[in-house]
Amino acid sequence: MSAPVPGPFIRVTNAVKRFGDFVALGGISVEVDKGQAVALIGPSGSGKSTLLRCLNALERIDEGMIIVGGEQIGAWVDTSGARRQLSLRDQARQRESIGMVFQSFNLFPHMTALENVASGPRLVRRTARLEAETAARALLERVGLGDKAGSYPRQLSGGQQQRVAIARALAMKPNVMLFDEPTSALDPETVQEVLNVIREVRESGMTMLIATHEMEFARQVSDRTIFMERGQIVEQGPSAEVLVSPRTERCRRFLSGLTGTTTVA
């Protein structure tokens, strides 16, 4: 693999992703420095999720390049300059250091909260059970669920499940965390507990990208905000500017639409 290069920690260059005729990402470029938090906002279908999924190779980009921590994600360039797909094994290795939190939590239903959190270290890194579970217990404490270690996902509320999912991602000690609309599937009363956990992760200095519809939260927690629409970046800049006084008409319309009925296609 290529040696770490100086510059931004995440560099997406002209990334294109198509699903059949539908262009999910229309050649976008994004850079994120280490320790930065970036919010991705935009209407449904704008490409936020696709971008996050491409960042850990759950989806494969059709054109362009994604570099995280100095390594090309999902591909490598051979001596002739041609781009080749990485083996499943190498893709798995890359994902170890990229944490992902899904909208629908996706906890493993046959494992307790503790086993879920310990599953990565145990099954990927072959960490001894005692060591993995001690670390997992500490992570559950950190997300405020120390007393739920023995509970199965079905016994937990949505907010609790999502906090377990965040702990599960953190257990792999990732360099970057990707949050794909982490509160969109939650009951309103449990949104805040999840946002508080993400805020705490942010304060620990984690590099992160968050696709979210929680604008107030995005403003508080992110350094930069990227507004996407139809697979393109329409506007980006410091969160305080983009979210409070956007330059583009489309972003303004999107933000105002969120408070009332949405008019954005």
Binding site: L58, A92, F102, N106, P109, G120, A169, M172, D187
Partner: protein
């Protein structure tokens, strides 16, 4: 001749030959079902490989053994193979025939159970950095097992009834043992009534055991099914 003779009935009920036949039926069912689950699972896993040869093998295997009657398979194994100098004992032919004829049904059950595990489970495991084999073994297979167990239990009953067919290749299981009794005393009605009762008892016993197992482990079964049904909302414990 009397229509129904109770003393013959009770004699047949505790006839040593019949009881041995019951035991043969039971072990033959269990052995061939376990083997069929092993073969069927391997076939199902091959069927999940998205390559043409694997697909051909899967479709061909399932189609072939489902489309040919077990009776024909058994006679083929026992009587036709010797012509090619392959000589199987009665027990070998019975075990191979019952295993092969059952395995496509198991393969279909296992394959659909694996498909029933939501793709999101694969994604979540991949996102942590798990490799495909680990995901299959530790995440998907365990969930699929819970989905597959009830239908696999039903296959036991089917297999139990199918064992009666090995009587045609002269294996002395319950049905043939019953027939042996008939050859001696010509009391067909009493003997077949006894055989029917034993088949009923065995299936009833199995159904009872399966229900009890599923009830005792209901939490175990509902974890997978429950999380598939409800995605976001949960009950606070």
């Amino acid at each position: 001749m009397q229509v129904w003779d109770w003393s013959v009935f009770f004699d047949t009920l505790v006839n040593v030959g019949i009881l041995q036949g019951v035991w043969t039926t039971v072990w033959l069912t269990m052995v061939t079902l376990v083997l069929a689950i092993a073969v069927g699972t391997v076939v199902a896993l091959i069927g999940r490989i998205e390559r043409l040869p694997a697909q051909w093998f899967y479709q061909g295997f399932v189609a072939f053994f489902r489309a040919t009657p077990l009776l024909v398979q058994l006679v083929f194994l026992y009587s036709a193979l010797p012509q090619m100098d392959i000589r199987l004992t009665v027990i070998q032919a019975a075990i191979i025939g019952l295993t092969l004829s059952e395995s496509p049904y198991v393969a279909e059950i296992v394959r659909s159970a694996i498909s029933a595990v939501p793709p999101a489970q694969w994604e979540a495991a991949r996102a942590i950095g798990m490799r495909p084999l680990t995901i299959m073994r530790s995440i998907v297979f365990l969930q699929a097992l819970r989905i597959a167990l009830p239908p696999l239990g039903n296959e036991f009953v089917r297999q139990l009834k199918n064992t009666s067919l090995v009587s045609v290749i002269s294996m002395t299981e319950l049905f043939r043992a019953t027939d042996n009794v008939i050859q001696n005393n010509f009391r067909v009605l009493e003997a077949l009534t006894v055989a029917t009762i034993y088949y009923l008892l065995l299936t009833a016993l199995w159904t009872f055991l399966q229900r009890a197992f599923e009830r005792r482990n209901s939490h175990w079964f509902s974890e997978t099914a429950g999380s598939v049904a409800k995605r976001s909302t949960g009950v606070v414990a």
